[in-house]
Subunit: 284 residues, 2 copies
């Protein structure tokens, strides 16, 4: 059991970590800092919050492990802010959807004093805010842990254990490789869903009242927070643009097949998609 | 109550109509024809099937209303096949995802003798086959009913009532307008989901093991039957190509914004998508 888990800037994911840590006995003491005074007040009354701190530095002072749950553009600034107050040997992890730059800058910010081992749980929702958090959010969900080659193996192992103890299936991966993967399996789907909705909004918006399950499911994530996604797309811009370019090539190939009435190619395309989708693991 | 409901070629949708009709007392007698002898045998034992017929003509002989539940390319051939055996004044409807050509050819096939009023319930699943049918599949789901300008109002009203009695929210719409709408809200999402899966299959297929809820939901319909979708895309080719072209324009605009680091435009795009998606009616 961790003597102290500190959570900075909890939203849906950060508060779910707190709930899961309490429910599973992962940490003896849970200390939380939130930027907004109103949120700090509300969190102070939660059974999964032993203390709220007024500043990130105060929250980090006695931490064994710090989880930074802020939007991706605020992770490195928060690492820098707590760096000098962290106990020697403390671990810092996060829940950011992008890992390469954050891993490198996080390691630099902590020096030899403490260790940054970034993480990215593939859990979440189009909903945001700690009010929607649940103790079972990570259960049987994949969580990437993305150490650098220079990260001490002991630090990586401890962060892997932390996420595993919260219920996640941990996958250890190089930070840049992580960014390539999620550009394809998370950021590209977000762009396609948002674009489909942005496109349909310009046609007759009343058509949404006719939506079947297909449109509902393909567009659910378009309801996600634009500001959060802007920072994710900004930080993973090169990989997202590369994935998007290749997707557009595939879409254009399909368009040509349909346009040319090449139904052998149309079927082959649909069959490749079907075969891929049918081999997904069952949903958690 | 309809004296006799005849269902030709039931799969998921056709058998769900039979179950719903029995559960809701919509028809006194339900007669079913299926192409495969094995299916006819299985259906004969169902409590929502009063008789199986060996041929479409035999099934249609005493029908008050015939529902054709076959794939879209077999609807008009089936209408032609039963035309001469249908009682005078009988109604014929269908569940096809495309309506324009089918409405016109169906009306020609029946002449003045009986009436074709096509329908398209926005219900279904990536699963197919009568074994997956349920009595509540249409409850609170939109069902398009697509009469031609020349369709007698009484025939349209009777078919509207039929779908309403099965639990659906009926929307009456011109057949060509229907095809334009579903090209956008159903066929385009299918193409995008299938293309995403076909694309990811060419990258590292193991990445699917990391799929979060976003990828799962955006790609669920890619598991649908390729043969069914080939005929839908073939029959609605022009409208699908038009919607696809405009979607690609929108995607390209987004790509340019991200490429040029125009984050004001990126946010505006995401916000338009979010606003559109958030105004969906609650799921049935």
């Amino acid at each position: 059991m961790l003597p102290q888990l500190t959570i900075l800037a909890p939203g849906l994911l950060g508060a779910s970590v707190a709930r899961a840590a309490r429910a599973r006995g992962v940490a003896a003491r849970i200390v939380i800092w939130s930027r907004r005074a109103e949120t700090r007040l509300a969190l102070a009354g939660q059974p999964w919050c032993d203390a709220v701190a007024e500043t990130p530095e105060a929250a980090a002072r006695d931490a064994t492990l710090v989880l930074i749950a802020s939007p991706v553009d605020q992770i490195v600034p928060l690492v820098r802010q707590i760096s000098s107050t962290l106990p020697a040997g403390a671990l810092v992890t996060d829940v950011g959807s992008v890992k390469g730059e954050i891993a490198r800058l996080g390691a630099v910010a902590l020096g030899q004093h403490a260790h940054f081992v970034g993480a990215h749980p593939m859990a979440g929702s189009e909903k945001t805010g700690w009010e929607h958090s649940t103790a079972d959010l990570f259960e049987r969900r994949v969580c990437f842990v993305a150490p650098l080659p220079a990260t001490p193996p002991g630090a990586t192992a401890a962060v892997v254990k932390f996420w595993h103890d919260l219920g996640a299936e941990v996958v250890t991966v190089d930070p840049d490789r992580h960014d390539e993967i999620v550009a394809h399996i998370s950021h590209l789907p977000q762009v396609l869903a948002s674009t489909l909705c942005a496109f349909l909004a310009q046609r007759d918006p009343s058509w949404r009242n006719f939506a079947g399950g297909g449109l509902r499911d393909t567009t659910r994530i378009a309801a996600s927070d634009p500001q959060l996604w802007r920072t994710i797309l900004e930080q993973n811009r090169d990989e997202v643009l590369r994935a998007l370019r290749h997707y557009q090539d595939e879409l254009h190939t399909f368009q040509s097949a349909l346009s040319n009435r090449d139904y052998t190619a149309v079927i082959a395309h649909l069959e490749r998609g079907q075969a891929y989708r049918r081999q997904f693991r069952p949903a958690p």
